[in-house]
């Protein structure tokens, strides 16, 4: 591969990054080629030792998308980040997506439970309106108790969700720093 081929391939693979960011990255590799050539290496040699532009790009993309998630935590950003980290290797499908789905499942369930508890008094009132005459104070008190519990659970879940999102971003970063991403020609 020549220098231009290498840089073009890398540029191509980095689509999705801002122009600024891309130029900055390409500049580093440009510099690497220039110094290598000064030292009497050939373009092909240098490119060979650099490794595949695609796997370099994958790692850069993963870091970039994680950074985006940290800046604004939206569904779109988190999905792109997860996708980019998974792209680092098939293995990641299991160790990134697996825990994510499991924990998100648990968190969603608890949120639903919290909502259900909180709305319990409404059910009792609804029941009273539909089957008039079956009103029982016992139901009302239990439902009010559940409502309180639901609100507490909701507050708790608010913090749990926050901690989880922070932790998950760290986990993604840990993956980028450790998992594959092209040490020695895959």
């Amino acid at each position: 591969m020549t220098k231009d081929e290498f840089l073009n391939k890398l540029n191509e693979a980095l689509r999705g990054l801002s122009l600024n960011e891309r130029q900055d990255i390409l500049q580093d590799y440009q510099e690497h080629f220039v110094i290598g050539l000064e030292e009497g290496k050939t373009e092909a040699e240098i490119a060979e030792r650099l490794g595949s532009p695609n796997s370099i790009a994958k790692e850069l993309l993963a870091s970039y998308h994680i950074e985006r998630v940290e800046q604004s935590f939206t569904a779109g950003n988190i999905i792109r980040a997860i996708w980019a980290v998974i792209g680092l290797g098939f293995f990641n499908l299991i160790i990134v997506l697996g825990p994510f789905i499991a924990i998100v499942g648990v968190i969603c369930t608890l949120w639903v439970a919290s909502l259900g508890f909180t709305l319990a008094p409404l059910l009792v009132i609804f029941d009273f309106l539909v089957h008039t005459g079956t009103f029982e104070f016992f139901n009302l008190f239990v439902s009010i108790g559940l409502c309180g519990l639901g609100i507490l659970l909701g507050l708790g879940m608010f913090f749990v969700t926050k901690v989880f999102t922070k932790g998950f971003i760290r986990y993604l970063k840990f993956n980028v720093s450790l998992v594959r991403g092209g040490l020695k020609h895959e």
């Binding site: 990255i25 510099e31 690497h32 030792r49 490794g51 595949s52 532009p53 450790l178 020695k184």
Partner: protein, 111 residues
């Protein structure tokens, strides 16, 4: 060296290598890559993403410096935060490698 050591393992250590090389003086990217690849088999391109990441984590700052031959080069300089991180990593590494060496010694002797 150590072709069989797996990739995850080497990649984790790469971070430590880069930080150590910048401890005594500032260096440019190419220089860092060569220093490491002289001793450890890596695909050289993966050092630059690492340098970017550590710069964003504020472990390094960068500056451009003219070179006598050719265009200016991007130098990396360790920050205070980076130095603290380096010390932590080095300590952890020492503990870890001592433990592994000890186990290897015992393993070899008992055979």
């Amino acid at each position: 060296m150590a072709k069989k050591l797996n990739v995850q393992f080497k990649k984790g250590v790469l971070e430590l290598c880069v930080l150590v090389l910048l401890d005594k003086r500032d260096r440019y990217g190419y220089e860092l890559v060569q220093k490491i690849s002289d001793r450890i088999e890596i695909s050289e391109g993966s050092v630059y993403p690492l340098l970017r990441r550590l710069t964003k984590e504020e472990y390094f700052t960068t500056y451009l410096k003219e070179s006598t031959e050719g265009p200016s080069r991007k130098y990396y300089k360790l920050t205070e935060k980076g130095r603290e991180y380096l010390n932590d990593l080095v300590n952890e590494w020492r503990e870890f490698s001592n433990a592994v060496n000890q186990l290897i010694k015992e393993g070899v002797n008992s055979d």
